[in-house]
């Protein structure tokens, strides 16, 4: 699980172009949106694409993303439980 969390941090930094942010600076329970990493709605869509492309997980309802993308912890748990 810790490998997956590290992988997610690196993917998010690269795919969402988070300049000047390192994986070490993202705590597993940091909020990804709002006051945390400050991601926006387009980033949320990009994360949905990432789940599909890299982990074979399709979100039928984009509203599910609100809970799944709360933090690295919640993303990793969801991917582990649903990975194709």
């Amino acid at each position: 699980m810790s490998d997956l969390k590290q992988e997610l941090k690196e993917k998010i930094i690269e795919q969402l172009n988070l300049e000047d942010v390192t994986a070490d600076e993202i705590a597993d329970n940091d909020p990804l949106f709002g006051d945390g990493l400050g991601l926006d709605s387009i980033d949320a869509l990009e994360l949905i694409v990432m789940l599909d492309k890299d982990y074979g997980i399709k979100l039928a309802d984009p509203k599910e993303g609100r809970k799944i993308f709360e933090s690295i912890d919640t993303m990793a748990a969801y991917i582990s439980a649903n990975k194709a």
Binding site: L16, L18, E19, D20, I42, L45, E46, V49, K53
Partner: protein, 203 residues
């Protein structure tokens, strides 16, 4: 065209140089577009992380506007931009990302930039500008396209000032020339003068 409008100041980004009113305020030996943009951003001490999420055209327009508008208080400012390649630089990248039906993962973050006028939207968001805007696509820089519409906007009190110019990016080549038109200023707002400023900064 009325000649009672003036150009307050102008900026240019080309060949690794950023200038305002012909004075270079930043230059780098980098030749790669993204490296030039990043170096300019860092050097000009701009704190706006969303910059790195923008496409190439928006980055170029954003920086060219930033050096002109950083001390600007007028929010009733229209924008009249032009270029040759529209958003083709980004369109091409987006097309490449979806051409393989077996690897069909369109990127929302890229797609939102597949319109040239998004560049003006990014500038509007940063500077809280709510006004008219228009983006013309033309084979080459043409002052008359910009000046006639700009004068009309000012004549009809649609805006107090107009940010105008040329912002073009395609295949690593880039060229930005922006200027602010107002009722007072340094240079006469006329086609020959606009052309002179454009060419002066390109020699």
């Amino acid at each position: 065209m009325k000649n009672d409008y003036y150009i307050e100041r102008y900026s240019q980004i080309r060949d690794g140089k950023v200038s305002v009113n012909g004075n270079i305020i930043f230059q780098t030996l980098e030749t790669n577009f993204k490296s030039v943009m990043k170096a300019a951003y860092k050097n000009l001490i701009i704190d706006y992380p969303k910059f790195f999420k923008m496409d190439n055209l928006s980055k170029l327009g954003f920086l060219a506007a930033e050096v002109l508008l950083k001390d600007e208080n007028e929010k009733n400012m229209a924008m009249v931009f032009s270029n040759r390649a529209s958003s083709l630089d980004t369109d091409r990248g987006y097309q490449d990302s979806i051409k393989d039906a077996t690897q069909y993962y369109p990127s929302p973050a890229v797609f939102v930039y597949t319109l040239a006028n998004i560049c003006m939207g990014e500038i509007s968001i940063k500077h809280k500008i709510h006004s008219e805007n228009c983006f013309f696509v033309n084979d080459e820089f043409s002052p008359e396209i910009l000046s006639s519409y700009t004068s009309q906007l000012l004549d009809e009190n649609k805006a107090k000032k107009v940010l105008c110019g040329w912002v073009d990016v395609d295949n690593g080549k880039y060229n930005a020339f922006l200027y602010v038109v107002a009722k007072k200023g340094t240079f006469v707002h006329s086609d020959p003068e606009i052309n002179r400023l454009y060419k002066t900064t390109h020699e």
